[in-house]
Point group: C5
């Protein structure tokens, strides 16, 4: 449930920079894409090659690692491209907070990608994406082995958009943009779910529903925690302390920044809406309780006196006036009707019906 705590707590007492075998299941696939405006080559490895023939003149390179289970691959890439060992440790340890660190030779970014599955109130799965941006090289690491970045590669291969013409920092932007766009899909799904829940609320509310709402609220806490720091991350890139991003790309990054703020806005709004729904639910539950108790009170108020009267006339005293009287029964019934009407009148007066 709380992987960052787990993975980190197992490391207590070890020297920094030690990579632990990850809990994450699944193989590790490494994809090397080399492209410039003319050419596009793509190689897939399941075992890391000795070294990547990357030099200044070879166009733009993108080495993408899917699945971080095999920490030796990360370590090998780290040593080949001379990453600080704390960075390789961060890459190999799932559950990091989104952050950016700028160095002379590269920028290091961690972002969290989120997926939403619609079961009871829905649950969210996230994975950690690490990006290292060099001058003409991008290393990217993905916690799980899925197809998140396939469409970016597709756009490169098919020369869609003008990514092929642009430099490595634009590719970094495209990856970040991809992840942030996914947030919109996520929030769109949650928004739909919220709408459905809201409709259920106004009809008959079920216990099941509250648990779903609470569940969704809990997921929002996780989502918020994963996305919130992103704002600062991008804002820091925009402040342009290093020169890893060109001015043109910064323009696009500013667009991503706007999106990130929209996402955070929507998260806050959803939290407010969920709080409002729980409030409304509570109101309606109390309302129903009131109604049920009113019925109980009405029934008791009407029948208690009547039952008392029947008991009264059912007593076995030898000398009871009226019992022998011919119209006694009818008079008794009459009294009861009058009492019942009085009680009903009182209830009417109290506006319970």
């Amino acid at each position: 449930m709380y992987p960052p705590l787990k993975s980190r707590s197992r490391k207590a007492g070890l020297p920094p920079g030690v990579l632990m075998p990850s809990d994450t299941k699944g193989g590790t696939v490494v994809t090397w894409v080399n492209y410039d405006q003319e050419k596009f080559t793509e190689k897939v490895y399941s075992v890391l090659p000795e070294s990547f023939p990357i030099d200044k003149s070879s166009g733009i390179n993108w080495i993408h690692v899917q699945g971080i289970a095999h920490s030796e691959i990360i370590e090998s890439l780290g040593s080949q491209f001379k990453l600080h060992r704390l960075i390789t440790e961060d890459i190999a340890t799932p559950g990091q907070r989104p952050k950016v660190e700028e160095y002379d030779r590269y920028v290091f970014l961690i972002i969290r990608s989120l997926d939403y599955y619609e079961d009871h109130g829905g649950h969210v799965e996230d994975e950690q994406i690490s990006i290292v941006l060099f001058d003409n090289l991008i290393l990217s690491f993905q916690e799980k082995n899925n197809t998140l970045f396939d469409s970016v590669r597709e756009r490169l291969r098919l020369k869609r958009g003008n990514m092929r013409k642009l430099s490595a920092d634009y590719l970094a932007y495209a990856l970040i943009d991809m992840i942030v766009d996914n947030y919109f899909i996520l929030l769109d799904k949650i928004g739909g779910n919220l709408e459905k829940m809201e409709e259920h609320l106004t009809s008959y509310p079920k216990e099941h529903l509250v648990e779903d709402i609470h569940n969704l609220r809990r997921e929002m806490i996780f989502i918020r925690r994963s996305i919130w720091p992103l704002r600062e991350v991008i804002s820091r890139l925009l402040r342009q302390e290093s020169n890893h991003f060109s001015k043109a790309t910064l323009f696009y990054l500013r667009d991503v920044y706007d999106h990130a703020i929209q996402v955070i806005d929507a998260i806050e709004m959803f939290r407010d809406l969920i709080a409002g729904m729980l409030d409304l639910y509570r109101s309606s539950v109390t309302q129903r309780l009131n109604e049920v108790i009113k019925i109980l009170t009405i029934v008791s108020t009407v029948f208690c006196p009547l039952t008392f009267l029947t008991g009264l006339f059912g007593m076995n005293f030898s000398y009871m006036p009226g019992l022998q009287w011919q119209y006694g029964f009818f008079v008794a019934i009459g009294i009861m009707i009058i009492v019942a009407l009085c009680m009903l009148g009182y209830i009417k007066h109290k506006k319970w019906l």
Copy 2:
């Protein structure tokens, strides 16, 4: 319900700057107004002309696009006036957050206009207004096809105020002012609605009412989200980083800024008031519950012992003392009256009546 999420989530994986056909219904009308202190010409197009004969000497131009359904019109205007394609994308994508972006040649503004319809607790409809301010030209885009800016055009045509004498930035101010003034109408209506609800609360509260209040509270969340960023937008214009606004117009903008703050103040106040009303509602519901249960308890407390006594004297034992006694019945009645009085006394003592 959450258009920004929807429209954005459909774009995931596409290159930036792609315009999607908008969901917004209705045609697109383009109005070109050209004016200076002497002349005023106005042309309405439903198909965009090849190009607008706009040059430095031709007075002030205002091209207003009502309805953004036909994205090709936005694209064509964008290319004619050399807008960045991310800007045309923003214009064509409803649901943007209010923002301002300053460039060398122009300032780009997004603001949200709000309308309030008074059904159950009321609901709010908003639309996105995009304004691009050049030196002697304003492009404005309106999400829906309505009469929002007709009164501004009217003032220009009839030479009311001194807008005709002033430059394009004053026109931009007039448009922003128009939108912010509409917020006051909106809030005035909501204020009236709140007052009505408050009156209902102090009289007999109905289930219906809570739902209305909750509904209004939800709408306030949307309103807040639409208006809140405006404050920063105008404050940024006031900080005057570019020179698109003259000093005289900045003075008027400061007035709009004051109004924006008043609007935000009022929104916060309304939120507080709504929270207070829900609180009061809850108090009164609990109060009523207490009263109902008191009645129930009083009835039970009085009649349970009496019914027991009648049952006692109704038992069929052959040998029961008093049954044969001539005054037995009356003594029994007496006992019952005493018991009832004791019970009522106890209730009185507890201050339940």
Copy 3:
């Protein structure tokens, strides 16, 4: 209820600077006071004179307008002393937020004065005070026609304190101080009211009381909104960006600033106290509910089994053991007593009594 929204919403679509006839009832009285260390003259006008013979050498002048119903008077003063028309608009439009604006020739201030009337939970009435401070002239405008500033004029006339010796900015300080001092009176009254309510709470709580508390809470929202911005207003004057206030007067302004902070402190404290009282009220209501339900449960728990037993022995079967037995009745009574004692013992054990 929300005058700023109302007055502003009627202006939507009009050019800025247009003065609307105010809703405020009552006439407009203009008082011109001219004084220096030696002389003191005071003139009262109900119709504005052509012009005020004010020059640099004529001592200090204070033109005070009570009641802003006649907007032509404001307009005329505005044109005579060359105020920007947005300022005259602000002066004539009640419901402005406290603010300060510094210009070359003058400082413009809006402050809100508050009065408290002690009916159900009390209600607050506020009015807008506008002050324009020139070098040796003060214009002040008061929304309503009351005696707010009479004591200041009195002090001037009677040469109490050393106001007569000091410059116009000290008079401005005196006016602000007067308003802030009134806040203390207001809060003192509310404090007294709170104390009374608190006493009522610990004795028998009534429905009426909750409504009063809620009412007071709502008034606190209004008060807070009126006073809160004052802090920033004075703090801005203290930062001394213009030179309209002398160093000596700034010293006194700092005193007012301290008072403003004390007032805001007290408001926050009152809000906390009110929240606490509502909380305590809810606790005590729940407590009472519990008690009532306990009584109900005790009565039912004791008498249900007993009534069942009487019913049992009241059945009409021909062959029922014990009915004919001489001691049957007494044994039955005995059983009932035992059952009742068991039930009471159980209740005792549960600590309900």
Copy 4:
């Protein structure tokens, strides 16, 4: 209850700097201590002497005023040492907010000293301490006539610590430290009280207890309001804008600053703890309510059908099957037992027992 409001509200309309006779009861005692490393003299006055023979060479002087009821003493001291009349007014007006004001010749400090009395939830009494620090002179004023600073004088007299060797600013530090140390005593007492309340909560909760907790919560509001500004006061002294504190003393002041933050931390923590206790109390009350209602429902559910059955067999129809039957009674009893067991089984199934 709210002395600052009261004392300030009485002054509305008066010129600034007027001293009102204080409400505070009790006499005024003035103590003059003169000391350096060798000598220590102490004189106690109940009537102020003409003047204090204080000059640069006379060592360090500490004039301490206990009780501010006699405002003429404050006024006389103020004029003798040339204090601004707003400062003498602040000294003579109880209920000021903690603050620091730095002048050329002296620093003026207001701090609030707190005492806690352990009655229902405890109540807090505070008094205002004003300190004026000159180069070799300290004036200190204490609202009430108690022994707060006796231990400091004792330390001076007995030459404990090295206060005698150090300058006047160290004495000022010692006074502030004394007051802040008292906060720890206060919070320690409250902490003990909280612990006791917490123990009571887990055992049987009484109505009385909630009121105590609420009472304590209210006192925390007052305490917070008195202490919170202290943080800023000391932090401002530390920023060392004037040179009234030597670098060595600033080191000690930083220690006091740490203590002040600890105190504020503890206050916030207590507020959280109190909120948690009230929450837990509410939970336990609801829990008890549930239990009581369960018992009620169980009793009703079991006995209502049984009583109905006895009533059924108690009807007086001539022709009722089974009444004459020899085993009728026992079969009826059997039916009742079966019904009762069914009901109990249902209750068991619902997990109410």
Copy 5:
């Protein structure tokens, strides 16, 4: 319970810098470790030696004091290494807030180490760690006598990692890192506990559980208070105002800073989760209450009229129609069945079943 308040409140009125005998039980063990890349010597003292032969050339020295009960040891170390007496006082007084103070010769740090014991909702024990970092010397003080830093010493002894090659500031980092890593263990345990509680919540909720959740919530308040200031402490070290930390070590410190933020994030998340759980618990309790009351109402609603009817036919009037009729009983039964069905139909209609 609140040791800092207790220990501090006992000092009120004493001069600063006085060491009080600590409440902490247990002996004091001093360990002196001297190491460089080649050598490693370790000596354990229970009585402090006259002096430590530490000079510039002797490699790196680490003097670690376990247990602060014997304040004379702290005092002696303080005088030997010329610490300010306020620092020795801080070291000897448990319950300090985490802080950092930078001096010319050394940096002084206080951090709190936390341990979690899993009883009812768990409880947390914390201890105070003080670290003084000189150029080639570290003094560290631990409140309790436990094995917290043994693994660091182990790493030094076994030359694991490259700590032996690095300077004293890296050792300081290693100690801080050790403590922060322990927070992850703590939070991991709490996370597990939370999960277990959440599972219990969805199954049958017990009173016991709420108390555990409240207990955990209270512990979170303490944890938060202990860890929150750490963020600022490390951030201050990173701002590098002194030069006690080398650039390489700062890199590692930044890693610790990231971890501290993760820890604080997790704490906030846990607080949100706990609040959500309490909310869900309340919902489910109310839900259960509603169900119980529904059953009560159903039973009463069905049987009250029936019992009334049996009472009616059980009255002893001589002349009652139908009693003598042969089918009277069966008709009465029929009426009762119809009444019961009507009542059940009504209940069905209300959707209570």
